[in-house]
């Protein structure tokens, strides 16, 4: 469109021009009928447009560019009925750009001018981020304000192999079944996997309660595609418990469009990186729910009419997940320890998105609907729950052998359940009878009253020490508690301090 510029120069030199008032705004035309200048209605003057809208659909627009070059992740905007609608460049083909909108595009039409913002997507990068709640695009959601103006591009950080450090001691969560089967280390990435409604969010909240409140280290919570109600509750609870001042929150919840849900994680990561890199902190990062990020990417992929892989996931699913996960790491300066909830669609553990995320993890806690059905919470599937720490050298021989022994009991119990369904309990050998009853006790013992579920269960939460857990498990396995009724083990802390609802009656 160099021609355009020429005409303008001519106009300055004094060529005759004609002004036409159209319903789109003011157009100035020279003698040959070439457009000299054009102004959209309501925009008196301002930045020069980079192009015009040529197609609109619910989640994409295409822009025909004039002589400007734009790059991937550039921010564009257009003005319509007095509001600015932002887009991010997602695809460039020749002089046509496809962009994904941040807001609703109702009313947009062909020919609207598109402008480029000065910067790409950025978020605050200074010490005022603590105690604040942001949306996916880095805007504050509550009445707080931020005075400082240091921001950073949300895509900007890549760690080199040299920077990555594997520091960190064991981090006890106080939740029996987690500390026993899947102990956590500082700098770990722990996944919490579960289908719909088996208790992922409650467990994440309990971890926030036990680990964050216990350590008092800085933390970042990223809510992606989850319930706004829970987001608000978390905010209120943190505020009430005076814990908000060490936490930054980013929400891109399920009522928001796919762009918002796909960007929340990048904004959240940038906040966590600030605390790690600039403040040299050990940061806790809670992500609820990382699956929703992949889901949002699928939606965008489909809108861009790219060919998907199975179940509609984008073909670049592995790199999309790596873009996020590779940034969650510890350096010499500070660490990021993350707990990531992972939704399992249609209860299908082999789902491509779930599998892609779990390859990045150091441990996983799997929640199972069959356990939840029996009212045993946290509804952990002990066979699939594991951690890199389950290693004689790291947790010691006693803990390691107890885990092995317990798993042996559990798997025999599964077989026995089938036998009993056919033959009845009376037919079992003494050894099997012992395994049967002791495993039922273990199963009940690994339930736990949660601090954050007190409202629901009516039982106050408990934080249990690892030494007590090992003693208790050993006691059950060796038959020390054979005489105690299995119901007595339900929703207690330790066996000796047992004071749950069940014994209170």
């Amino acid at each position: 469109m160099a021609e355009n510029t020429n005409n303008q120069e001519n106009a300055v030199e004094g060529k005759k021009t004609k002004t036409i008032y159209t319903d789109e705004g003011v157009v100035v035309v020279d003698e040959e009928g070439n457009v000299v200048s054009e102004e959209g209605s309501g925009i008196e003057s301002g930045p020069k447009p980079v192009g015009k809208i040529i197609t609109v659909s619910e989640l994409t627009i295409s822009v025909l560019l004039s002589d400007v070059k734009v790059k991937y992740h550039d921010l564009l905007y257009t003005q319509h009925k007095g509001r600015e609608i932002y887009f991010e460049v997602a695809e460039i083909e020749g002089n046509v750009v496809r962009a994904i909108p941040f807001q609703n595009v109702v009313g947009l039409k062909k020919g609207l001018d598109v402008f480029r913002a000065n910067k790409g997507l950025e978020i605050q990068y200074n010490d005022e981020i603590l105690g604040k709640v942001f949306n996916s695009y880095g805007q504050l959601l509550d009445e707080n304000t931020i005075e400082k103006d240091e921001t950073r591009d949300v895509y900007d950080r890549h760690l080199s192999l040299e920077e990555i450090s594997l520091n960190g001691g064991i981090l006890w969560t106080g939740i029996k079944v987690l500390d026993f089967f899947a102990p956590m280390q500082k700098g770990f990435k722990m996944g919490l996997l579960g289908g719909a409604g088996v208790g992922k969010t409650v467990l994440i909240k309990e971890l926030i309660h036990n680990v964050y409140a216990g350590l008092k280290s800085n933390s970042v919570f990223v809510g992606i595609g989850e319930r706004s109600r829970e987001g608000k509750e978390l905010y209120e609870e943190m505020k009430e418990a005076d814990l908000l001042d060490k936490m930054s929150i980013v929400f891109g919840q399920m009522g928001e469009n796919s762009t918002a849900r796909s960007k929340a994680i990048f904004s959240g990561l940038t906040l966590a990186e600030y605390l790690r890199d600039e403040k040299s902190q050990d940061v806790l990062l809670f992500i609820d729910n990382i699956y929703r990020y992949v889901q949002a990417m699928s939606e965008i992929n489909s809108e861009l009419a790219r060919i998907p892989i199975e179940n509609g996931y984008p073909a670049n699913i592995a790199s999309a997940v790596s873009d996020v996960e590779e940034r969650i790491n510890s350096t010499e300066k500070g660490s990021i320890t993350s707990f990531q909830a992972i939704y399992i669609p249609a209860d299908d553990m082999t789902d491509q998105a779930v599998q892609t995320v779990t390859t990045h993890l150091d441990g996983q806690i799997v929640l199972d609907r069959k356990v939840a059905e029996k009212g045993l919470y946290p509804a952990v599937d002990v066979f699939n729950t594991t951690s890199k720490l389950i290693d004689i050298e790291k947790i010691g021989e006693r803990h390691y052998t107890l885990v092995e022994e317990t798993l042996k009991y559990y798997s025999r119990y599964q077989e026995l359940e089938e036998i009993i369904a056919v033959l009845g309990i009376e037919e079992l050998s003494i050894q099997d009878t012992n395994i049967f009853y002791r495993t039922r006790k273990l199963r009940n013992y690994f339930t736990q009253p949660m601090f954050v579920a007190e409202n629901y269960t009516g039982i106050p939460g408990e934080f249990v020490d690892i030494d007590d857990i090992l003693d208790d498990v050993e006691g059950i396995l060796t038959g020390k508690y054979d005489e105690v009724d299995e119901g007595q083990f339900l929703f207690i802390g330790t066996i000796n301090g047992r004071k749950s609802k069940v014994s209170a009656e």
Binding site: V56, K109, A196, E299, S302, G312, Y313, D347
Partner: protein, 441 residues
């Protein structure tokens, strides 16, 4: 007389000035069921309402380089290639009048029983922006359905989204109807959104609500299954926009969405017809967002109003782990699972107490109900599990404790039985269950 004409002309002129590009004309180039392609509309807005051949109405679903796509909403007669398509300058929206309460209506503001439009219709946006997190309050006020199995152990609060899920003929709709009937004199506006229901279904529903005197405060917003699919698709969104209107004025609203599985199927149909890439089970990848933005309208607003939503989902073979069901379960604040087995055994309401969940639980109950509910729930669940494991064991050889809890469980089972249109007050529920488990401190 001339003054009258002058006024008319002036009004028309004013309108034309206010609404830009009125009467832009294009021509139909392709008809594919209810999606038509139109050439020549250069300045039409996304979502704008258009009139086709003077008799049918649609809206713009996509603006492409050389054409636009229009989804039909109302078709009065056949549409031919070459028919004129005229833009209106208005975004497509639902029409609503406050006098619609007590009637069966559609999203265009027509009384479906009488076949006439209401006077004084107001436009009502079909999709509104999400309710900001900071405008939300905490869900904590108990919402009484009058059903013991719900109010006691899987309670609902004002602003909660509680899914009702189960096979055909397990009493899903009945639970919703019972809940609506129980709102009499509680100052709750009820909106029953029928998606893809037969006319007979809706007639029956209207009659039974009428008989119970519940139509006074109920609006039935219905899309019949012979309406154009885009209308069925929009009906639940319109229902929630109407609910939002009342909520913002501080009212409590109950919305029943019957049912979302049909809605998902309609969305799949429209998306595939529009050529979008299919995902799992051929549903489009945005199927989660389709329902999440709808159900996120359910909330306790900080201003005191609320929208409580009871979405309904139909399953096949009792499988609640299929794609659509788990998607919706992952959005709602809990699910009430109905089991065909229970229904056939005469256990009504046929609630599957093991699979049902209320994520809010005791937070939406008063202290007494909460304590009693927690006790009953725990005892009853362990009874159900015990019954399953020990079904072959000899009762006489069981420990005394175990035998007692089996007997107690059976008694609880009986107390949960409740027939339709026989609501129980919280006091009655407490009395019935305290007789079994004793008084809770």
């Amino acid at each position: 007389m001339s003054e009258f004409v002058e006024n008319l002309v002036n009004a028309k002129l004013r309108n034309m000035k206010a609404m830009r590009n009125i009467y832009e004309v294009g021509y139909v180039s392709k008809v594919q069921d209810y999606i038509i392609e139109v050439d020549g509309l250069e300045k039409v807005g996304f979502y704008e309402r258009v009139v086709i051949a003077n008799h049918s109405m649609g809206y713009i679903t996509a603006i492409e380089r050389n054409k636009v796509k229009v989804a039909l909403l109302q078709r009065a007669s056949e549409i031919y290639v070459g028919d004129e398509v005229v833009t209106t300058g208005f975004d497509f929206c639902a029409m609503y009048s406050r006098s619609e309460i007590g009637h069966v209506v559609d999203i265009f503001g027509e009384d479906r029983l009488l076949g006439e439009k209401f006077a004084e219709l107001h436009p009502c946006d079909i999709e509104t922006p999400p309710i900001p997190i900071m405008d939300r309050g905490i869900v904590k006020r108990p919402f009484y359905t009058g059903i013991a199995g719900i109010d006691l152990i899987y309670p609902i609060g004002y602003g909660q989204r509680q899914l009702i899920i189960g096979d055909k003929k397990t009493g899903k709709t009945q639970i919703a109807i019972d809940t609506i009937v129980n709102q009499k004199d509680r100052n709750v506006i009820c909106i029953y959104v029928a998606i893809n229901k037969t006319k007979k279904n809706i007639r029956e529903l209207y009659d039974s609500l009428m008989k119970k005197g519940a139509m006074e405060y109920t609006l039935i917003l219905a899309a019949f299954n012979d309406d154009e699919p885009p209308v069925s698709y929009f009906t639940p969104y319109a229902g929630l926009s109407i609910a939002e209107l009342y909520m913002k004025e501080g009212h409590d609203v109950l919305v029943v969405l019957d049912d979302l599985k049909s809605h998902a199927d309609i969305h799949r149909e429209i998306s595939l017809l529009a050529g979008k890439t299919p995902g799992r089970d051929a549903y489009p990848p945005d199927i989660f967002y389709t329902h999440s933005r709808m159900l996120e309208k359910g909330c306790q607003h900080a201003n005191g109003g609320s929208i409580t939503i009871l979405p309904i989902v139909e399953t096949k073979g009792g499988d609640i782990t299929d794609y659509i069901s788990t998607n919706i379960i992952s959005i709602t604040d809990g699910q009430l699972v109905l089991s065909r087995k229970n229904f056939e055994k005469g256990i009504k309401p046929a609630i599957d107490y093991g699979l049902s969940v209320s994520r809010l639980g005791g937070a939406v109950q008063d202290l007494h109900m909460k304590r009693l509910g927690a006790t009953v729930r725990r005892k009853f669940l362990s009874y159900l599990e015990m019954k399953e494991v020990y079904q072959l064991a000899n009762v006489d050889e069981m420990s005394l404790e175990m035998r007692e809890s089996l007997e107690e469980g059976e008694k609880l089972q009986e107390r949960f039985l409740q027939y339709k249109f026989s609501p129980r007050t919280p006091a009655e529920i407490q009395r019935d269950f305290e007789e079994v488990v004793g008084e809770v401190e």
